[in-house]
Amino acid sequence: MTTAVARGTIRAPQRPGDRIFSTATVVSGGLILAVLASVAAFLLVQSLPAFVAKPEDFTGGYTNFWSYVWPLAFGTLWSAFLALLIAVPLAIGIALFISHYAPRKLSQGLGYIVDLLAAVPSVVFGLWGIGVLAPLLQPFYATLVAWFGWIPLFAGPVSGTGRTILTVAIVLAVMVLPIITALCREIFLQTPVLYEEASLALGATRWEMIAMAVLPFGRSGIISASMLGLGRALGETMAVAMVLSPSSQVVFQLLTSQNPTTIAANIALNFPEAHGTGVNILLATGLVLFVITLAVNMVARLIINRRKAFSGAN
């Protein structure tokens, strides 16, 4: 803008619309920073009493804040990790089908349907999880424990209701699927046609073409899509609070009644009756979640930046 003005004697006429619009964008940009800063400041100030809270302020026999928050932080990361483990391969498969396998008409329809999943509110997913998924999976879990109980992950006793961390991970996976799928699809479609045609011309089959041209090109895109999905999985509250049978301990078993619960779900469950220092303790766990989410996003940025030169993310 300034270079154009400096070169000539003719000044571009400044219409009111220009000024209003540029001010509006600056205000919007500044507002988001201000909101983020005020959230961080609020969490910090409200959390301070929790770090010096006395043992009797904690429910469930904890002695200090860190012993209280550790199982919750573990549960948050563990459930999100399991969800991604299910969602990412599935999302890549769906995205590849839409971008490279499906006939054009079908691929458009399928894309819309996957996007529609993102519009379903999480409380509906929660109800579906309790009402449909958990009872449906329970007999399957019972069989799994009976046959593969010797694998530590599937150790019993099996939950009688199916409301386990694996069910939660499946619900979360369904919820993050649309985000990851939509991004992966866009990235796969951006693969230069020249690469694809070249590998086909060299005698590659369609699968080999995808493995050698499309996937390497989209790798950093897949990672950033997964990280966006991870962000949603980490912060998901309602579906976890409704579906999971929570306890506060660090366990890896997938199919029992005692599952590590997440920070967000724990806040949702205990906030209504919390008072005094209890509120500060819950908000401090919120601060921990805030920090975890920031850290995850920063790591994701780091990975993407390192690989940027070789891929389609730039």
Partner: protein, 364 residues
């Protein structure tokens, strides 16, 4: 710029804002002048506390505001502890609480009360807690408190355990694993349930009663509806919930004396009526020490008693009149029958209701 494009939505927005803002009160829009002799009370009454009282309070407020059109009552079901704290700090005119005031709370001062006066607990809401179960092929189930405590502690893990079989000689119990469902959120129901186990099965249940479920065993579910849902959809499940929400589920009978007793509103009211008041308190304080150890088979000791906590003398006499009128209505026969139909509560016995109204008469 073409402003008509923005003009139309703007007009719609303004009209909508006007239309919506005109129905902000929680009172039904009955004109105040029609009820001539009905009531002279005016003002706003604020209460906060027990969420167990929540549905009953909604019904009470609706009926009380219809009878007294110039009165507005607000009740925030924020939880018993928060409710007592708000009341002590002067943020509300009365508190709803599932547990009576602690001694240290009574020793302090209450901001809404007149200087030198104190606060009292008045029982207004009694709700039996049902032990619900869902086991294939089992319709009736008898349990004593030792067995119940062991089930919720995770020490009895299958339905055909000898301890359960001994209590149920006629039932065919499957070898299914037991999933014991408890509340995952803090709850007065959990506190009363664990208090029952703590008192009646002291050898097994050693954790002091509290709002959160104390153990890392069994399965947690959110809210009463969550527990009922988990028990309904699960296999070999057992849980506890407000009796009014038990629905079609099997309800276990608990052992009282030598007999097994199912819950009824009468049996729940009876145990409260026969329980002594907490000792060492002012005689106008009706805090009840529920007799969980009763051996009378007409009693059902697994009950929750919820209180209205009010000042003996209000700093603002007009507010005192309002509280008196509202709590009298809650504890009276009309209020109790409204609560019974709205929340499945057990009505106060006449004797206890008389005691409550006698205390209310002295409130200024």
């Amino acid at each position: 710029m073409n402003f008509t494009r923005f003009g139309r939505p703007a007009v719609i927005a303004v009209v909508a804002a006007l239309a919506l803002s005109s129905c902000a009160s929680n009172e039904s829009a009955t004109p105040a002048s029609t009820e001539g002799a009905a009531s002279a009370l005016t003002g706003t009454l604020t209460g906060a506390g027990s969420s167990a009282q929540g549905s009953a309070q909604e019904a009470w407020i609706a009926a009380f505001q219809t009878a007294n059109p110039d009165v507005t009552v607000n009740y925030d079901p924020s939880g018993s502890g928060a409710g007592r704290e708000t009341f002590i700090g002067g943020g509300s005119d009365f508190a709803g609480s599932d547990s009576y005031l602690k001694d240290e709370e009574l020793a302090g001062t209450f901001a809404a009360c007149a200087p030198g006066s104190s606060a009292v607990d008045l029982p207004v809401y009694i709700s039996p807690i049902a032990v619900i179960f869902n086991v294939e092929g089992v319709k009736d189930l008898n349990l004593d408190s030792d067995t119940l405590a062991k089930i919720f502690k995770g020490e009895i893990t299958t339905w055909n355990d000898p301890a359960i079989a001994a209590l149920n000689p006629k039932a065919t119990l499957p070898a299914t694993a037991i999933t014991a469902v408890h509340r995952s959120d803090d709850s007065g129901t959990t506190k009363n349930f664990t208090d029952y186990l703590f008192q009646t099965a002291p050898d097994v249940w050693t954790d002091a009663p509290a709002d959160p479920f104390p153990l890392q065993s069994g399965e947690g579910a959110k809210g009463t509806s969550g527990v009922v849902d988990a028990v309904t959809n699960g296999v070999g499940t057992i849980g506890y919930a407000d009796a009014s929400k038990a629905g079609d589920l099997g309800v276990a009978k608990i052992k009282v004396g030598d007999k097994f007793v199912g819950y009824t509103a009468d049996a729940a009211a009876a145990v409260v009526a026969d329980s002594p008041l907490v000792e060492g308190r002012d005689k106008s304080d009706l805090a009840i020490k529920i007799n969980r150890l009763t051996t009378d088979p007409t009693h059902y000791p697994l009950v929750l008693v919820s209180y209205a906590v009010v000042c003996t003398e209000y700093a603002d006499a007009a507010q005192g009149e309002l509280v008196k009128a509202y709590v009298s209505y809650m504890a009276g026969s009309d209020g109790q029958s409204v609560a019974a139909s709205a929340g499945g509560a057990a009505p106060l016995s006449t004797e206890l209701a008389d005691k409550v109204s006698a205390v209310l008469a002295t409130i200024k």
